[in-house]
Symmetry: C2
Subunit: 254 residues, 2 copies
Amino acid sequence: MDRKPLFLLSNDDGVSAPGLQALIGMLRPMASLFVVAPDKARSGAACAITSDVPVSQRLLHAEEGLTVYACSGMPADCVKLALDQLLQSGPDMVIGGINHGRNDSINANYSGTLGVVREGALHGIPSVAFSLSNHSLDADFSAMQPYVERIVALTLSEGLPYGTCLNVNFPDGGTYSGIRVCRMAYGRWIDEFSPCEHPRGGHYYWLGGEQVNDEPDDPDTDAWALEHGYVAITPTTVDVTDYRLKSQLEDWDF
Amino acid sequence: MDRKPLFLLSNDDGVSAPGLQALIGMLRPMASLFVVAPDKARSGAACAITSDVPVSQRLLHAEEGLTVYACSGMPADCVKLALDQLLQSGPDMVIGGINHGRNDSINANYSGTLGVVREGALHGIPSVAFSLSNHSLDADFSAMQPYVERIVALTLSEGLPYGTCLNVNFPDGGTYSGIRVCRMAYGRWIDEFSPCEHPRGGHYYWLGGEQVNDEPDDPDTDAWALEHGYVAITPTTVDVTDYRLKSQLEDWDF
């Protein structure tokens, strides 16, 4: 294409998160960037949307090739608002992240960063989410740069089928064994809530817990790839139909 | 089984919603019911979880065979809290709804009612979501009863594969052409935000819009079934991997 491509960026850690700032730095040479990200952290927002109160936005920054808005809504709201109201023309890609923390395995169901790119996929726009296996605000994202550039450039040139997106997870540590195309690992969260006492009484619970990988030895999974130092690319769909179960249900006597 | 089965119920319209009350009425003869539902409406919550503040619960009602809690969290939090802290033993099923409004097609990605049953599926518990194509608080759910009983009884006896659940949508009107097992229809929301002015100024936007069905003539879809008077059962998975795209990506030159 002659003009510079236009990328819509969002995340779930909030507009001021270092991971988003790192992503902006990596992608600025490639494209014009239009950022609409939550005004506060919205971790675990999944594909949630806001319909009980209006959402609002605030322009934080505007210069040639970089526009940044904070939005009061969820990650999916940010994408919807950008596409429906704020952008003059459709973006070439929707990019989520870089998330502080991994979004592989069953966490793709909970992740707001995945909410960003599933929303992009629902609008038929090639969309890629990036996450680093490090929750710290001081995480070092720099080693990801050549991989992010390559994956974005390839997605831009190849495109993605309607309703699909890429969930890309990086191991922590700054060196990678390579890239693996994976499926989502099955697993479980256990001991999810820790009770805590309010100073004035009452039962409160912090969500936390521990994740168990149900198939740690399967090299086809994203969790295996991360544990073995690979960048894991999990092709992801918004079609939640279970086609195998669909066939089985034909035999049920409804 | 000898003992009466135990069902965990939740929804996204909130613990006081008539749809949940109707579901309780339909299922009480079949099972002991343990209800943990959001203390306010959480429509569009998807699989969102609450990790930035503690969640709390309040016991509203307890009698033989029926316990009701209100929870400050999201629908998925309600299921997690019940399973991890409130229930003495694992439930035989997780049941979501009855939702005020349809959750077919791409809305399965946004629905908090689906968040309930996807959480159940992530815990390996047979889970079914029920929704009626009527947003009104005065909707009449009564005609659904024999279908709800039959679908729940069948799911209880047959079980569901790990990581799967059923998304059951009813047309409005009280008479049904039958049951169809469907796939999720593809579609889009358009004109999603309506700008509104704050009395003191500032840009605010209500999320609303209009849904477009991209494949209105395909009788394999849940949207087609609903439009033609059928009860639509869409088998649903928490595995968001796109396996077709996975094969295609093997050819990309990463």
